[in-house]
Symmetry: C2
Subunit: 109 residues, 2 copies
DNA sequence: CAAACATATAAGCCCTTACTTATTTATCGT
DNA sequence: ACGATAAATAAGTAAGGGCTTATATGTTTG
């Protein structure tokens, strides 16, 4: 519970940076090597590696080594802290704006 | 479309700070004046006001003035950018871990 | 009106962070 | 083995963020 809060913290901090969100989004389209991401974005390779390390530390991403390439992919379980945090306020939402779930229903379309 | 991204950015940045999340959580328990929040937390009144300004700028919070008191309350609509961002990856989730919606179903219990 | 109160803003400080270039480590192809 | 490629790490820098104290603005009370 103290460790869980730390994970929550890392997730929120990791997603706070727009470059990191863009990299994360790019990875949802499929596994990618660092060199691919370096080609896609306008920042240096070390910057990419540092962002990936932050995402990995938050549990949002996993990596696999194959030869001299390092492939990164999204770990969907990493989103759980975020989902949990949102769910925590559901009671509040329903009390105040009724069926905010309509927003969430988009998730079931 | 440039404005929407800017809002998303402000929301993620606002929630990145644990003090701000704590203040937000405190506000979900009910409207509160700045002095109440100042009493609840161990940071100065200006720090509270600055956090509230960030939350307000992100659209997560609204404020109402009554005499010399400023009451802040959560604006649930401010969560929409966050929900939308999560929903954006739903297709990916279902492909990779099947019914992650179970996590989200907690929102409908 | 004056003093106390509630909040916002200003200015400054320190720590964090996101980036860069340079270097290291490891792996592949020739 | 050598040179090229892929990624991680190191070190330094510049900007941003969160906090503080001090001050300004507006409001209630005596």
């Amino acid at each position: 519970m103290h460790g869980a809060a730390a994970v929550e913290d890392r997730v929120f901090r990791a997603l706070a940076d727009p470059s990191r969100r863009a990299i994360f989004e790019s990875l949802t389209r499929g596994e990618a090597a660092v060199k691919d991401l370096t080609a896609r974005f306008d920042i240096s390779q070390p910057a990419i590696s540092q962002h990936l390390a932050a995402l990995k530390d938050a549990g949002l991403v996993r990596h696999r080594r194959e030869g001299r390439c390092a492939f990164y992919r999204v770990d969907p379980r990493g989103m759980k802290p975020l989902i949990d945090w949102i769910a925590h306020y559901r009671a509040f939402w329903t009390k105040h704006i009724g069926r905010l779930e309509r927003l969430l229903e988009g998730l079931d379309e």
